[in-house]
């Protein structure tokens, strides 16, 4: 920095004193570096968000991702098992630090009840896909049906032109089915649902939160 050292006694403001004080002890540096690495590595996170069922919230929630330049991979919105509460399941690639920031900024929206972030280890994941494949190719090539069976997918409709196949599972299984059918050259259409999931936790965070809030309401 061209302007360095014009303020204090030393030429590299602050730095020398930091070293003298011995605050940069090796072990703690390594520990911190490891944590930083975890915090800064990009991976797929799943955000589970509960909100009141009010119009306009979805765009406010997605805007939080856009503003922080995080791309949404999948998004699923539906009424939840808690009456009046909507559930959003959103996946996105980002760092842990970013994921935590995003949840806090989403939770700050007035009508959002709760926002939490999970890695794949913390949740049981499901996703559905539908494939439209060519009936003539399916009849001609026995491998097509074999692949469908191998992937435990079912055929839900067949006519002379196409067959519709449905598969439910984790993302990698679905992609594997798609890849193998694509190699066989029979895929006409492929759609995925985006993921839904439930947590592996023993506690239900939303219920706890709502009970807690109810207590506060009654205390008023």
């Amino acid at each position: 920095m061209a302007f360095g050292g014009q303020c204090g006694e030393c030429t590299e403001c602050g730095k020398c004193e930091r070293l003298l004080n011995g605050q940069t002890n090796d072990d703690s540096i390594k520990k911190e570096e490891k944590k930083m690495e975890q915090d800064n590595s990009v991976r797929l996170y799943t955000f589970i968000i509960y909100s009141e069922n009010v119009p306009g919230l979805l765009s406010q929630i997605t805007a939080v991702y856009t503003r922080r330049q995080v791309n949404i991979e999948s998004l699923n919105v539906c009424a939840s098992s808690t009456p009046g509460a909507h559930k959003y399941t959103i996946t996105a690639y980002c760092t842990r630090t970013m994921a935590e920031m995003l949840t806090k900024q989403i939770e700050k929206k007035i009508d959002v009840l709760q926002a939490n972030v999970f890695t794949d280890d913390d949740i049981f994941i499901n996703e559905t896909c539908l494939l439209k494949i060519s009936t003539p190719i399916m009849l001609e090539n026995k491998d097509v049906c074999r692949m469908v069976r191998l992937h435990q997918a079912h055929i839900v409709e067949v006519n002379s032109i196409y067959a519709t196949i449905e598969k439910t599972g984790i993302t990698s299984d679905i992609l594997s089915l798609y890849d193998s059918l694509k190699t066989l050259g029979c895929v006409l259409q492929f759609v995925r649902s985006g993921r839904i999931c439930i947590t592996k936790d023993y506690t239900e965070h939303l219920d706890e939160y709502l009970a807690d809030r109810e207590k506060k309401r009654n205390a008023k």
Binding site: G4, G5, Q6, G8, C13, G14, S59, Q60, K108, K220
Partner: protein, 566 residues
């Protein structure tokens, strides 16, 4: 039960919230409400501004000095879009506002009707809550909720998009009350463990340093802050918005943080062993280069907004909650301490800054007037008890540096957004929010012209704004950066100025221009002695720079004290 129009219900709902003043501007889609307002003139003082941006900034000025919710009312379409700057400004500076905008009737929504704008869509990202009132039946509920959200927790602006059919529809009005929203907890319970840990860290610290932000004022926690600082004998620095959270001359107040702050607090930020942030958000103008910011220190962050924790600066401990309560709780657990030698450590920096910068800014003996000397003289003429309103630019930075504070809620400046044109309307609002205090506005020749139309409001209301125009014939702050970082290339910053004195006089505002230093004291005296508004134009040195400065991106302790033009 008697049925009334939605517009009348809106009036009653506002009165029910204790509103007694509205800043606004009428138009087609809000006419039914203005018609109802005609019958409520005694209780709802409506201030007609000259541009809707002025209405919102005036409401901000009112809110900032009074601690109440500021209220603005405008029409749909262009009326609503003219409020955007003020709403964004209030959002980033946590100012409680309710902005009511007319809207076309619901049958026309989405048809690109005359003066239809998707106000909720446009304002959602820049407001705390934005809601469309579509039926007269929703008015009582929506207004109660709007005021509750605006003023509770971390305050902010709320927008009510008021459809015309809801204004004309008939309704049995019953006042509503909002003090609970299950998805929103504005007063989180303190966490005992956080409180104990904070006290422990402070008790163990030998070089603690406290960063004071506007949260202390918003939380009405000035006394709690003082007790906290004094018990553990901890020095502090303040942000611009936190300037009046503690008296300027308090023994433990070491000055201003950040880019144009004081040398001591900035250097000591990188020397302390414990940094304690209270109600501030580590803005980049405060931290400078984050990679080197307070790396040697442990950091505690007190805030009511959880999303501020670890946003810009990673902290060792966050203390979530209302700082009025958390500071008091921690103070109870603090050991009485003295940190004399640590506090004395600020002195050399204070002396150095005084000698190299402050003395020259306040006591020049020759050359044109300087902003610093004018500001300090005005401040002293109010016994440092005035309200400082600023516009944006060098006038703002100098005002924050040289105005002094003894009273709470004395700072009205656009911090986070840096909105030129904020000053005049905000100062008007401040005169209504604190009618017993002297409101001093410092404004540049650029910013004055951004909302100069509000001279009309000042004239009509006789609003006693003491306007000090610091005229340097430049967009000074940008010119300073061009001089320092863009090789002195003054790209569109010199300005040809009109005769401001004449303009003010055209509006019936007494005005005077001071060029000579020898005339300054008398002119300030005359300004303050003249009842009502006044414009004091000071001919300021054209190419002066605000110093010291942490250059953009530099480390916070690398302040330039002197800059010699090449």
């Amino acid at each position: 039960m008697e049925k009334i129009t939605g517009a009348e219900a809106m009036m009653r709902a506002l009165e029910n919230e204790g509103v007694d003043i509205l800043f606004g501007y009428p138009g087609g889609s809000i006419m039914p409400t203005y018609d109802a307002l005609y019958d409520h003139k005694k209780t709802l003082n409506h201030i007609l501004v000259r541009h809707e941006q002025g209405a919102v900034h005036a409401a901000q000025g009112y809110a900032r000095v009074s601690g109440k919710v500021g209220c603005a009312i405008v029409t749909s379409g262009p009326g609503a879009t003219n409020t955007i700057t003020g709403i964004a400004d209030a959002m980033i500076d946590s100012t409680p506002l309710v902005v009511i905008a007319g809207q076309v009737g619901v049958a026309m929504l989405g048809t690109d009707a005359f003066q239809e704008v998707d106000v909720v869509g446009v304002t959602s990202p820049i407001s705390k809550w934005s809601y469309q009132i579509r039926r007269a039946e929703d008015i009582a509920w929506a207004v109660a909720r709007a005021f509750y959200i605006a003023k509770s927790g971390r305050p902010g602006p709320v927008v009510l998009d008021f459809a015309k059919n809801a204004q004309t529809g008939m309704v049995e009005y019953e006042p509503a009350k909002a003090d609970f929203i299950r998805s929103y907890d504005p007063d989180p319970d303190l966490n005992e463990e956080e409180i104990r840990e904070a006290a422990k860290m402070i008790n163990e610290s030998v070089k603690p340093f406290v960063l004071v932000g506007q949260g202390v004022e918003l939380g009405n926690a000035r006394e709690e802050l003082k007790a906290f600082l004094e018990k553990a004998d901890m020095p502090c620095g303040t942000t611009f918005l936190g300037l009046s959270a503690i008296e300027s001359d308090h023994r433990l107040n070491k000055g201003i943080l950040g880019m144009h702050g004081n040398l001591g607090p900035n250097v000591m930020t990188n020397k302390c062993d414990l940094l304690i942030a209270v109600g501030m958000r580590f803005d980049d103008r405060v931290t400078g280069n984050l990679a080197t910011y307070a790396k040697q220190a442990k950091i505690i962050h007190f805030d009511i907004d959880r999303s501020e924790f670890n946003k810009n600066v990673k902290v060792n401990l966050s203390v979530h909650g209302d700082c009025k309560k958390s500071l008091a709780a921690v103070t109870k657990l603090l050991d009485k301490a003295t940190h004399t030698s640590w506090i004395d450590g600020f002195k050399p920096y204070e002396e150095k800054e005084y000698q190299k910068v402050i003395d020259k800014a306040l006591h020049p003996t020759e050359g044109p007037l300087l902003m610093g000397e004018v500001i300090r003289k005005v401040s002293e003429a109010t016994n440092n008890a005035g309200i400082m309103v600023t516009d944006v630019g060098q006038n703002q930075l100098f005002a924050c540096r040289y105005f002094k504070f003894t009273k709470a809620r004395s700072v009205v400046t656009s911090g986070g957004l840096g909105t030129m044109g904020f000053g005049i309307p905000a100062a008007i609002g401040a005169t209504f929010g604190a009618p017993d205090r002297t409101v001093c506005l410092f404004v540049g020749d650029g910013g004055l012209q951004m909302t100069i139309q509000e001279f009309g409001t000042i004239m009509e209301q006789g609003a006693p704004v003491k306007m000090i125009l610091l005229n340097n014939n430049y967009l000074g702050n940008v010119r300073q950066w061009q001089e320092m970082f863009f090789s002195h290339r003054y790209s569109f910053t010199p300005m040809l100025n009109p005769n401001y004195e004449l303009i003010a006089k055209g509006y019936g505002i007494p005005a005077k221009t001071v060029v000579e230093r020898s005339e300054l004291d008398a002119a300030i005296k005359e300004m303050l002695a003249t009842p009502g508004p006044y414009l004091l134009q000071c001919a300021i040195m054209e190419e002066d720079n605000v110093m010291p400065m942490v250059p953009p991106g530099a480390n916070i302790d690398e302040m330039i004290l002197e800059y010699k033009s090449k």
